[in-house]
Protein backbone atom coordinates (compact mmCIF):
# COMPACT_ATOMS: atom_id res chain seq x y z
CA UNK A 1 0.00 0.00 0.00
CA UNK A 2 1.23 3.50 -0.81
CA UNK A 3 1.92 5.66 2.18
CA UNK A 4 2.97 9.25 2.18
CA UNK A 5 6.13 9.97 4.15
CA UNK A 6 4.14 12.53 6.17
CA UNK A 7 1.99 9.80 7.77
CA UNK A 8 3.10 9.00 11.30
CA UNK A 9 4.04 5.36 11.99
CA UNK A 10 1.21 5.13 14.56
CA UNK A 11 -1.45 6.18 12.07
CA UNK A 12 0.15 4.02 9.39
CA UNK A 13 -0.18 1.04 11.71
CA UNK A 14 -3.90 1.70 12.22
CA UNK A 15 -4.42 2.16 8.47
CA UNK A 16 -2.67 -1.16 7.86
CA UNK A 17 -4.91 -2.84 10.44
CA UNK A 18 -8.10 -1.54 8.81
CA UNK A 19 -6.78 -2.44 5.36
CA UNK A 20 -6.42 -6.05 6.43
CA UNK A 21 -10.20 -6.27 7.07
CA UNK A 22 -12.24 -7.84 4.26
CA UNK A 23 -13.72 -5.37 1.80
CA UNK A 24 -11.63 -2.42 3.06
CA UNK A 25 -9.45 -0.86 0.39
CA UNK A 26 -6.53 1.49 1.06
CA UNK A 27 -8.68 4.64 0.70
CA UNK A 28 -11.38 3.42 3.08
CA UNK A 29 -8.72 2.29 5.55
CA UNK A 30 -7.28 5.78 5.54
CA UNK A 31 -10.72 7.36 6.04
CA UNK A 32 -11.49 5.05 8.97
CA UNK A 33 -8.14 5.71 10.62
CA UNK A 34 -8.54 9.48 10.42
CA UNK A 35 -12.11 9.19 11.67
CA UNK A 36 -10.88 7.35 14.78
CA UNK A 37 -8.12 9.93 15.20
CA UNK A 38 -10.60 12.82 15.26
CA UNK A 39 -13.32 11.03 17.27
CA UNK A 40 -13.68 11.56 21.04
CA UNK A 41 -11.62 9.24 23.23
CA UNK A 42 -14.77 7.46 24.49
CA UNK A 43 -15.68 6.38 20.97
CA UNK A 44 -12.23 4.93 20.37
CA UNK A 45 -12.38 3.13 23.70
CA UNK A 46 -15.78 1.65 22.90
CA UNK A 47 -14.42 0.36 19.59
CA UNK A 48 -11.33 -1.15 21.18
CA UNK A 49 -13.42 -2.81 23.91
CA UNK A 50 -15.89 -4.24 21.43
CA UNK A 51 -13.02 -5.68 19.41
CA UNK A 52 -11.47 -7.39 22.41
CA UNK A 53 -14.75 -8.59 23.82
CA UNK A 54 -15.71 -10.33 20.60
CA UNK A 55 -12.44 -12.27 20.84
CA UNK A 56 -12.73 -13.02 24.55
CA UNK A 57 -16.36 -13.89 25.09
CA UNK A 58 -17.57 -15.55 21.91
CA UNK A 59 -17.13 -19.23 21.21
CA UNK A 60 -18.73 -21.96 19.14
CA UNK A 61 -21.99 -23.50 20.32
CA UNK A 62 -21.17 -27.11 21.16
CA UNK A 63 -24.38 -28.25 19.45
CA UNK A 64 -24.78 -26.24 16.24
CA UNK A 65 -21.25 -24.78 15.99
CA UNK A 66 -22.62 -21.28 15.43
CA UNK A 67 -20.76 -18.36 17.02
CA UNK A 68 -22.35 -17.54 20.36
CA UNK A 69 -21.91 -15.75 23.71
CA UNK A 70 -23.56 -18.57 25.62
CA UNK A 71 -23.24 -22.30 25.09
CA UNK A 72 -25.59 -23.86 23.95
CA UNK A 73 -26.75 -20.89 21.90
CA UNK A 74 -30.19 -19.29 21.98
CA UNK A 75 -31.29 -21.00 18.77
CA UNK A 76 -30.42 -24.44 20.13
CA UNK A 77 -32.21 -23.77 23.44
CA UNK A 78 -35.37 -22.12 22.00
CA UNK A 79 -38.28 -24.44 22.96
CA UNK A 80 -40.42 -22.94 20.19
CA UNK A 81 -38.16 -24.40 17.51
CA UNK A 82 -38.58 -27.91 16.15
CA UNK A 83 -35.93 -30.59 16.65
CA UNK A 84 -37.22 -32.46 13.60
CA UNK A 85 -35.30 -30.45 11.01
CA UNK A 86 -31.70 -29.28 10.92
CA UNK A 87 -30.72 -26.70 8.33
CA UNK A 88 -27.03 -27.08 7.43
CA UNK A 89 -25.20 -23.94 6.27
CA UNK A 90 -21.63 -23.03 5.36
CA UNK A 91 -21.13 -19.92 7.50
CA UNK A 92 -22.58 -18.20 10.61
CA UNK A 93 -23.72 -15.31 8.37
CA UNK A 94 -25.96 -17.76 6.50
CA UNK A 95 -27.82 -18.51 9.76
CA UNK A 96 -28.31 -14.77 10.23
CA UNK A 97 -29.69 -14.39 6.68
CA UNK A 98 -32.15 -17.29 7.03
CA UNK A 99 -33.25 -16.01 10.45
CA UNK A 100 -33.83 -12.51 9.05
CA UNK A 101 -36.08 -14.06 6.43
CA UNK A 102 -37.86 -16.08 9.12
CA UNK A 103 -38.26 -19.07 6.82
CA UNK A 104 -36.95 -21.88 9.01
CA UNK A 105 -38.37 -22.91 12.40
CA UNK A 106 -36.07 -25.85 13.08
CA UNK A 107 -32.46 -26.03 14.25
CA UNK A 108 -29.20 -25.15 12.46
CA UNK A 109 -25.77 -26.58 11.93
CA UNK A 110 -22.81 -24.46 10.78
CA UNK A 111 -20.03 -26.25 8.86
CA UNK A 112 -17.62 -23.28 8.87
CA UNK A 113 -16.72 -23.62 5.21
CA UNK A 114 -17.31 -25.83 2.22
CA UNK A 115 -15.43 -28.73 0.70
CA UNK A 116 -12.95 -27.41 -1.84
CA UNK A 117 -10.88 -30.30 -3.17
CA UNK A 118 -8.60 -28.13 -5.28
CA UNK A 119 -7.67 -26.04 -2.23
CA UNK A 120 -7.17 -29.15 -0.13
CA UNK A 121 -10.23 -28.48 2.07
CA UNK A 122 -11.91 -31.80 2.85
CA UNK A 123 -14.76 -32.96 5.13
CA UNK A 124 -12.40 -33.37 8.08
CA UNK A 125 -11.68 -29.63 7.95
CA UNK A 126 -15.37 -28.82 8.50
CA UNK A 127 -17.80 -29.46 11.37
CA UNK A 128 -19.08 -32.62 9.70
CA UNK A 129 -18.39 -35.08 12.51
CA UNK A 130 -20.31 -32.79 14.89
CA UNK A 131 -23.27 -32.87 12.49
CA UNK A 132 -23.26 -36.66 12.21
CA UNK A 133 -23.23 -37.06 15.98
CA UNK A 134 -26.45 -34.98 16.15
CA UNK A 135 -28.21 -37.24 13.66
CA UNK A 136 -27.96 -40.36 15.78
CA UNK A 137 -30.83 -38.81 17.76
CA UNK A 138 -34.11 -40.24 16.46
CA UNK A 139 -35.86 -36.84 16.80
CA UNK A 140 -34.16 -35.55 13.61
CA UNK A 141 -36.41 -36.32 10.65
CA UNK A 142 -34.95 -34.13 7.95
CA UNK A 143 -31.64 -32.48 7.12
CA UNK A 144 -31.95 -29.42 4.87
CA UNK A 145 -28.77 -28.59 2.98
CA UNK A 146 -28.50 -24.84 2.38
CA UNK A 147 -25.11 -24.73 0.70
CA UNK A 148 -24.24 -22.03 -1.83
CA UNK A 149 -25.12 -23.06 -5.40
CA UNK A 150 -21.51 -23.15 -6.57
CA UNK A 151 -18.91 -25.87 -7.08
CA UNK A 152 -17.79 -26.01 -3.42
CA UNK A 153 -21.39 -26.00 -2.23
CA UNK A 154 -22.27 -28.76 -4.68
CA UNK A 155 -19.28 -30.88 -3.63
CA UNK A 156 -20.25 -30.40 0.04
CA UNK A 157 -23.91 -31.25 -0.58
CA UNK A 158 -22.91 -34.27 -2.67
CA UNK A 159 -20.65 -35.58 0.06
CA UNK A 160 -23.15 -34.97 2.88
CA UNK A 161 -25.99 -36.59 0.98
CA UNK A 162 -23.87 -39.75 0.63
CA UNK A 163 -23.02 -39.89 4.33
CA UNK A 164 -26.43 -38.87 5.67
CA UNK A 165 -28.26 -40.95 3.08
CA UNK A 166 -26.43 -44.01 4.45
CA UNK A 167 -27.73 -43.07 7.91
CA UNK A 168 -31.30 -43.35 6.68
CA UNK A 169 -32.21 -39.73 7.49
CA UNK A 170 -34.31 -37.77 4.97
CA UNK A 171 -32.18 -35.19 3.20
CA UNK A 172 -33.26 -32.21 1.08
CA UNK A 173 -31.48 -29.33 -0.59
CA UNK A 174 -32.84 -25.79 -0.94
CA UNK A 175 -34.01 -25.10 -4.49
CA UNK A 176 -32.01 -22.90 -6.78
CA UNK A 177 -33.32 -21.02 -9.75
CA UNK A 178 -33.92 -17.41 -10.69
CA UNK A 179 -33.41 -14.88 -7.89
CA UNK A 180 -36.21 -12.38 -7.22
CA UNK A 181 -35.74 -9.34 -9.44
CA UNK A 182 -33.67 -11.13 -12.07
CA UNK A 183 -34.42 -11.24 -15.80
CA UNK A 184 -35.01 -14.57 -17.51
CA UNK A 185 -33.20 -13.10 -20.50
CA UNK A 186 -29.87 -12.92 -18.68
CA UNK A 187 -30.05 -16.24 -16.90
CA UNK A 188 -27.50 -18.89 -17.71
CA UNK A 189 -28.43 -22.38 -18.87
CA UNK A 190 -27.86 -24.14 -15.55
CA UNK A 191 -29.94 -21.62 -13.60
CA UNK A 192 -32.77 -21.92 -16.12
CA UNK A 193 -32.57 -25.70 -15.99
CA UNK A 194 -32.80 -25.65 -12.18
CA UNK A 195 -35.66 -23.15 -12.28
CA UNK A 196 -37.50 -25.32 -14.79
CA UNK A 197 -36.94 -28.54 -12.83
CA UNK A 198 -38.15 -27.01 -9.57
CA UNK A 199 -41.12 -25.17 -11.09
CA UNK A 200 -44.28 -25.01 -8.96
CA UNK A 201 -47.91 -25.58 -9.73
CA UNK A 202 -50.03 -22.43 -9.70
CA UNK A 203 -53.48 -22.53 -8.19
CA UNK A 204 -56.24 -22.96 -10.74
CA UNK A 205 -59.20 -20.61 -10.31
CA UNK A 206 -62.25 -22.60 -11.30
CA UNK A 207 -65.23 -20.71 -12.64
CA UNK A 208 -68.10 -20.70 -10.19
CA UNK A 209 -71.58 -19.45 -10.81
Amino acid sequence: MQRSPATSPTIARLIEAFHRLPGIGPKSAQRLAYHVLRAPRAEAEALAEALLEVKDSTRLCAVCQNITDSDPCGLCLDPQRSDATICVVEEPLDVAAIERAGVHRGRYHVLHGAISPMDGVGPEDLKVRELLSRLGDASVEEVILAMNPNLEGEATAGYLSRVIGAMGVRITRIAHGLPVGADVEYADERTLRAAMTHRVELERHEETD
Binding site: G23, M118, L151, G158, V163, A166, P179, A187
Partner: protein
Protein backbone atom coordinates in the same frame (compact mmCIF):
# COMPACT_ATOMS: atom_id res chain seq x y z
CA UNK B 1 -0.61 5.18 -19.69
CA UNK B 2 -1.13 3.40 -22.99
CA UNK B 3 -4.58 1.88 -23.32
CA UNK B 4 -4.48 -1.83 -23.92
CA UNK B 5 -7.26 -3.17 -26.06
CA UNK B 6 -9.53 -5.70 -24.38
CA UNK B 7 -9.04 -9.25 -25.55
CA UNK B 8 -11.60 -11.89 -26.46
CA UNK B 9 -10.90 -15.52 -25.69
CA UNK B 10 -12.58 -18.86 -25.49
CA UNK B 11 -11.67 -20.64 -22.27
CA UNK B 12 -12.56 -23.31 -19.75
CA UNK B 13 -12.99 -22.06 -16.17
CA UNK B 14 -10.72 -24.30 -14.11
CA UNK B 15 -11.45 -22.89 -10.67
CA UNK B 16 -12.41 -19.82 -8.70
CA UNK B 17 -11.59 -18.23 -5.42
CA UNK B 18 -13.35 -15.41 -3.56
CA UNK B 19 -11.92 -11.90 -3.73
CA UNK B 20 -13.10 -9.16 -1.40
CA UNK B 21 -16.82 -9.08 -0.58
CA UNK B 22 -18.50 -9.73 -3.89
CA UNK B 23 -15.89 -10.71 -6.49
CA UNK B 24 -14.17 -13.89 -7.53
CA UNK B 25 -10.88 -14.59 -9.22
CA UNK B 26 -11.43 -17.07 -12.04
CA UNK B 27 -8.63 -19.24 -13.34
CA UNK B 28 -9.27 -19.49 -17.08
CA UNK B 29 -7.56 -21.91 -19.42
CA UNK B 30 -7.47 -20.77 -23.02
CA UNK B 31 -6.09 -22.58 -26.07
CA UNK B 32 -4.25 -19.48 -27.24
CA UNK B 33 -3.04 -17.89 -24.02
CA UNK B 34 -2.78 -20.71 -21.52
CA UNK B 35 -3.68 -19.98 -17.93
CA UNK B 36 -5.15 -16.56 -17.15
CA UNK B 37 -6.38 -15.25 -13.81
CA UNK B 38 -9.19 -12.74 -14.17
CA UNK B 39 -11.55 -10.99 -11.76
CA UNK B 40 -15.29 -11.53 -12.15
CA UNK B 41 -16.81 -8.52 -10.44
CA UNK B 42 -19.91 -8.77 -8.29
CA UNK B 43 -20.58 -12.44 -9.07
CA UNK B 44 -21.25 -13.38 -5.45
CA UNK B 45 -24.32 -11.12 -5.35
CA UNK B 46 -27.62 -12.83 -6.20
CA UNK B 47 -28.48 -10.51 -9.08
CA UNK B 48 -25.17 -10.79 -10.89
CA UNK B 49 -25.75 -11.41 -14.58
CA UNK B 50 -22.31 -12.89 -14.91
CA UNK B 51 -22.19 -15.46 -12.11
CA UNK B 52 -23.77 -18.34 -14.01
CA UNK B 53 -21.39 -17.80 -16.92
CA UNK B 54 -18.12 -18.04 -14.99
CA UNK B 55 -18.78 -21.25 -13.04
CA UNK B 56 -15.83 -23.63 -12.81
CA UNK B 57 -15.93 -26.64 -15.14
CA UNK B 58 -17.69 -24.79 -17.91
CA UNK B 59 -16.57 -23.49 -21.30
CA UNK B 60 -17.30 -19.97 -22.41
CA UNK B 61 -16.41 -16.88 -24.36
CA UNK B 62 -14.84 -14.09 -22.33
CA UNK B 63 -13.96 -10.46 -22.82
CA UNK B 64 -10.99 -9.42 -20.70
CA UNK B 65 -9.63 -5.98 -19.93
CA UNK B 66 -6.28 -5.38 -18.31
CA UNK B 67 -6.89 -4.08 -14.80
CA UNK B 68 -4.34 -2.68 -12.38
CA UNK B 69 -2.82 -6.05 -11.56
CA UNK B 70 -5.18 -8.70 -12.94
CA UNK B 71 -7.43 -9.00 -15.94
CA UNK B 72 -11.07 -8.06 -15.35
CA UNK B 73 -13.83 -10.00 -17.08
CA UNK B 74 -15.94 -7.49 -18.97
CA UNK B 75 -18.41 -9.99 -20.38
CA UNK B 76 -18.93 -13.73 -20.27
CA UNK B 77 -21.10 -16.02 -22.30
CA UNK B 78 -21.30 -19.67 -21.39
CA UNK B 79 -20.91 -21.95 -24.42
CA UNK B 80 -21.06 -25.24 -22.61
CA UNK B 81 -22.07 -25.35 -18.93
CA UNK B 82 -21.56 -29.13 -18.79
CA UNK B 83 -24.45 -29.40 -16.36
CA UNK B 84 -24.07 -33.16 -15.80
CA UNK B 85 -20.64 -32.48 -14.28
CA UNK B 86 -22.31 -30.38 -11.60
CA UNK B 87 -25.34 -32.53 -10.95
CA UNK B 88 -23.47 -35.68 -9.98
CA UNK B 89 -20.80 -35.57 -7.31
CA UNK B 90 -18.78 -38.43 -8.81
CA UNK B 91 -18.52 -36.78 -12.22
CA UNK B 92 -17.75 -33.50 -10.48
CA UNK B 93 -14.93 -35.10 -8.50
CA UNK B 94 -13.31 -36.52 -11.63
CA UNK B 95 -13.75 -33.22 -13.49
CA UNK B 96 -12.07 -31.35 -10.63
CA UNK B 97 -9.21 -33.85 -10.69
CA UNK B 98 -8.68 -33.15 -14.40
CA UNK B 99 -8.95 -29.39 -13.87
CA UNK B 100 -6.38 -29.57 -11.10
CA UNK B 101 -3.91 -31.34 -13.40
CA UNK B 102 -4.32 -28.65 -16.05
CA UNK B 103 -4.19 -25.86 -13.46
CA UNK B 104 -0.93 -27.15 -12.04
CA UNK B 105 0.79 -27.85 -15.31
CA UNK B 106 0.09 -24.76 -17.40
CA UNK B 107 1.66 -21.33 -17.34
CA UNK B 108 0.36 -17.92 -18.25
CA UNK B 109 0.77 -16.88 -21.86
CA UNK B 110 1.64 -20.37 -23.03
CA UNK B 111 -0.43 -21.49 -26.01
CA UNK B 112 -1.71 -24.95 -25.25
CA UNK B 113 -4.16 -25.89 -27.95
CA UNK B 114 -3.45 -29.60 -27.67
CA UNK B 115 -4.10 -29.75 -23.92
CA UNK B 116 -7.17 -27.55 -24.31
CA UNK B 117 -8.58 -29.93 -26.88
CA UNK B 118 -7.87 -32.92 -24.64
CA UNK B 119 -9.58 -31.26 -21.66
CA UNK B 120 -12.61 -30.24 -23.74
CA UNK B 121 -12.96 -33.69 -25.21
CA UNK B 122 -12.57 -35.35 -21.80
CA UNK B 123 -15.05 -33.07 -19.99
CA UNK B 124 -17.56 -33.70 -22.76
CA UNK B 125 -17.08 -37.46 -22.49
CA UNK B 126 -17.35 -37.15 -18.71
CA UNK B 127 -20.65 -35.28 -19.01
CA UNK B 128 -22.13 -38.19 -20.96
CA UNK B 129 -20.53 -41.22 -19.32
CA UNK B 130 -21.72 -43.58 -16.63
CA UNK B 131 -18.11 -44.46 -15.81
CA UNK B 132 -16.52 -41.17 -14.69
CA UNK B 133 -13.44 -42.85 -13.27
CA UNK B 134 -12.61 -44.48 -16.60
CA UNK B 135 -12.81 -41.16 -18.46
CA UNK B 136 -10.49 -39.49 -15.97
CA UNK B 137 -7.98 -42.36 -16.33
CA UNK B 138 -8.16 -42.05 -20.10
CA UNK B 139 -7.49 -38.33 -19.75
CA UNK B 140 -4.62 -38.95 -17.32
CA UNK B 141 -2.79 -41.28 -19.71
CA UNK B 142 -2.96 -38.69 -22.51
CA UNK B 143 -2.11 -35.87 -20.13
CA UNK B 144 1.08 -37.74 -19.16
CA UNK B 145 1.93 -38.15 -22.87
CA UNK B 146 1.52 -34.42 -23.48
CA UNK B 147 3.60 -33.49 -20.46
CA UNK B 148 6.49 -35.54 -21.80
CA UNK B 149 5.99 -38.44 -19.40
CA UNK B 150 4.47 -40.88 -21.88
CA UNK B 151 4.56 -44.23 -20.08
CA UNK B 152 6.40 -46.80 -22.21
CA UNK B 153 4.16 -49.85 -22.64
CA UNK B 154 5.88 -51.81 -25.43
CA UNK B 155 9.49 -52.41 -24.40
CA UNK B 156 11.19 -52.78 -21.01
CA UNK B 157 12.42 -49.34 -19.89
CA UNK B 158 15.57 -50.90 -18.42
CA UNK B 159 16.80 -53.42 -21.02
CA UNK B 160 14.62 -52.50 -24.05
CA UNK B 161 13.40 -56.11 -24.42
CA UNK B 162 9.92 -56.39 -25.89
CA UNK B 163 7.38 -57.38 -23.27
CA UNK B 164 4.47 -59.81 -23.24
CA UNK B 165 1.40 -59.40 -21.06
CA UNK B 166 2.55 -61.61 -18.15
CA UNK B 167 4.90 -61.12 -15.22
CA UNK B 168 5.80 -57.48 -15.82
CA UNK B 169 6.54 -54.65 -13.47
CA UNK B 170 5.83 -50.91 -13.70
CA UNK B 171 8.14 -48.12 -12.65
CA UNK B 172 7.00 -44.49 -12.89
CA UNK B 173 10.51 -43.30 -12.08
CA UNK B 174 11.95 -45.26 -15.01
CA UNK B 175 9.04 -44.26 -17.22
CA UNK B 176 7.03 -47.39 -17.89
CA UNK B 177 6.87 -51.16 -18.11
CA UNK B 178 9.61 -53.47 -16.78
CA UNK B 179 10.16 -56.91 -18.35
CA UNK B 180 9.77 -60.07 -16.23
CA UNK B 181 13.52 -60.63 -15.87
CA UNK B 182 14.29 -57.02 -14.81
CA UNK B 183 11.20 -57.11 -12.55
CA UNK B 184 12.51 -60.37 -11.08
CA UNK B 185 15.77 -58.55 -10.33
CA UNK B 186 13.81 -56.19 -8.09
CA UNK B 187 12.82 -53.37 -10.42
CA UNK B 188 9.34 -51.81 -10.50
CA UNK B 189 6.07 -52.68 -8.81
CA UNK B 190 3.93 -55.58 -9.96
CA UNK B 191 1.98 -54.84 -13.15
CA UNK B 192 -0.76 -57.44 -13.45
CA UNK B 193 -1.76 -58.76 -16.83
CA UNK B 194 -5.31 -57.23 -16.83
CA UNK B 195 -3.96 -53.77 -15.94
CA UNK B 196 -1.20 -54.04 -18.56
CA UNK B 197 -3.78 -54.95 -21.20
CA UNK B 198 -6.09 -52.17 -20.03
CA UNK B 199 -3.33 -49.55 -20.25
CA UNK B 200 -2.52 -50.65 -23.81
CA UNK B 201 -6.21 -50.62 -24.69
CA UNK B 202 -6.71 -47.15 -23.20
CA UNK B 203 -3.83 -45.81 -25.24
CA UNK B 204 -5.29 -46.85 -28.59
CA UNK B 205 -9.03 -46.36 -27.81
CA UNK B 206 -11.44 -43.49 -27.36
CA UNK B 207 -12.68 -42.29 -23.97
CA UNK B 208 -16.08 -43.78 -24.77
CA UNK B 209 -14.65 -47.24 -25.53
CA UNK B 210 -12.47 -47.10 -22.42
CA UNK B 211 -15.59 -46.36 -20.37
CA UNK B 212 -17.18 -49.55 -21.68
CA UNK B 213 -14.47 -51.81 -20.20
CA UNK B 214 -15.38 -53.56 -16.97
CA UNK B 215 -12.57 -53.24 -14.43
CA UNK B 216 -12.66 -55.30 -11.24
CA UNK B 217 -11.86 -53.76 -7.85
CA UNK B 218 -8.32 -55.14 -7.56
CA UNK B 219 -7.34 -53.98 -11.06
CA UNK B 220 -8.91 -50.61 -10.34
CA UNK B 221 -6.82 -50.11 -7.20
CA UNK B 222 -3.64 -51.19 -9.01
CA UNK B 223 -4.28 -48.96 -12.02
CA UNK B 224 -5.02 -45.96 -9.81
CA UNK B 225 -1.75 -46.49 -7.97
CA UNK B 226 0.31 -46.65 -11.17
CA UNK B 227 -1.35 -43.56 -12.62
CA UNK B 228 -1.06 -41.60 -9.40
CA UNK B 229 2.64 -42.36 -9.03
CA UNK B 230 3.24 -41.40 -12.66
CA UNK B 231 1.40 -38.10 -12.13
CA UNK B 232 3.31 -37.32 -8.97
CA UNK B 233 6.47 -37.98 -10.93
CA UNK B 234 5.34 -35.63 -13.70
CA UNK B 235 3.98 -32.87 -11.48
CA UNK B 236 6.48 -33.24 -8.69
CA UNK B 237 4.02 -33.46 -5.82
CA UNK B 238 0.84 -34.86 -4.39
CA UNK B 239 -2.53 -34.12 -5.94
CA UNK B 240 -5.13 -32.50 -3.72
CA UNK B 241 -8.39 -33.42 -5.40
CA UNK B 242 -7.55 -37.13 -5.39
CA UNK B 243 -8.02 -37.18 -1.62
CA UNK B 244 -11.63 -36.00 -2.07
CA UNK B 245 -12.26 -39.03 -4.29
CA UNK B 246 -11.10 -41.14 -1.34
CA UNK B 247 -13.35 -39.20 1.09
CA UNK B 248 -16.28 -39.73 -1.24
CA UNK B 249 -15.58 -43.44 -1.55
CA UNK B 250 -15.62 -43.71 2.23
CA UNK B 251 -18.76 -41.56 2.71
CA UNK B 252 -21.32 -44.34 2.97
CA UNK B 253 -19.20 -46.35 5.38
CA UNK B 254 -18.85 -43.26 7.57
CA UNK B 255 -22.63 -42.79 7.54
CA UNK B 256 -23.31 -46.40 8.43
CA UNK B 257 -20.77 -46.43 11.24
CA UNK B 258 -22.23 -43.15 12.60
CA UNK B 259 -25.60 -44.90 12.87
CA UNK B 260 -23.97 -47.85 14.59
CA UNK B 261 -22.12 -45.73 17.14
CA UNK B 262 -25.30 -43.74 17.87
CA UNK B 263 -27.22 -46.97 18.44
CA UNK B 264 -24.44 -48.22 20.71
CA UNK B 265 -24.41 -45.08 22.82
CA UNK B 266 -28.19 -45.28 23.12
CA UNK B 267 -27.96 -48.90 24.31
CA UNK B 268 -25.27 -47.79 26.73
CA UNK B 269 -27.60 -45.08 28.09
CA UNK B 270 -30.46 -47.53 28.47
CA UNK B 271 -28.16 -49.97 30.25
CA UNK B 272 -27.09 -47.24 32.65
CA UNK B 273 -30.69 -46.17 33.21
CA UNK B 274 -31.60 -49.78 34.03
CA UNK B 275 -28.93 -50.05 36.74
Amino acid sequence: MPRIRPIRIEAIVLRQRPLGDADRICVLFSPTRGRIEAVAKGVRKPLSKMSGHVEPLSRGQFGLAQGRSLYVITDAQSLDPWSPLHDDVERMTEAMAMAELVDRSTDADAASGQLYQLLCQSLEALARTTAPEAVRRWFTLRFLDQQGYRPELDACVRCRAEVGPEGNGYSPADGGVICPSCHGAGHGQRLSSPVFRLLRYMRRSSAESTAQVRVDAAASVELERHLRLSLEQALDGRLRSSSFAEDLARAETIGRSAVKSAAESEREEQRRAAI
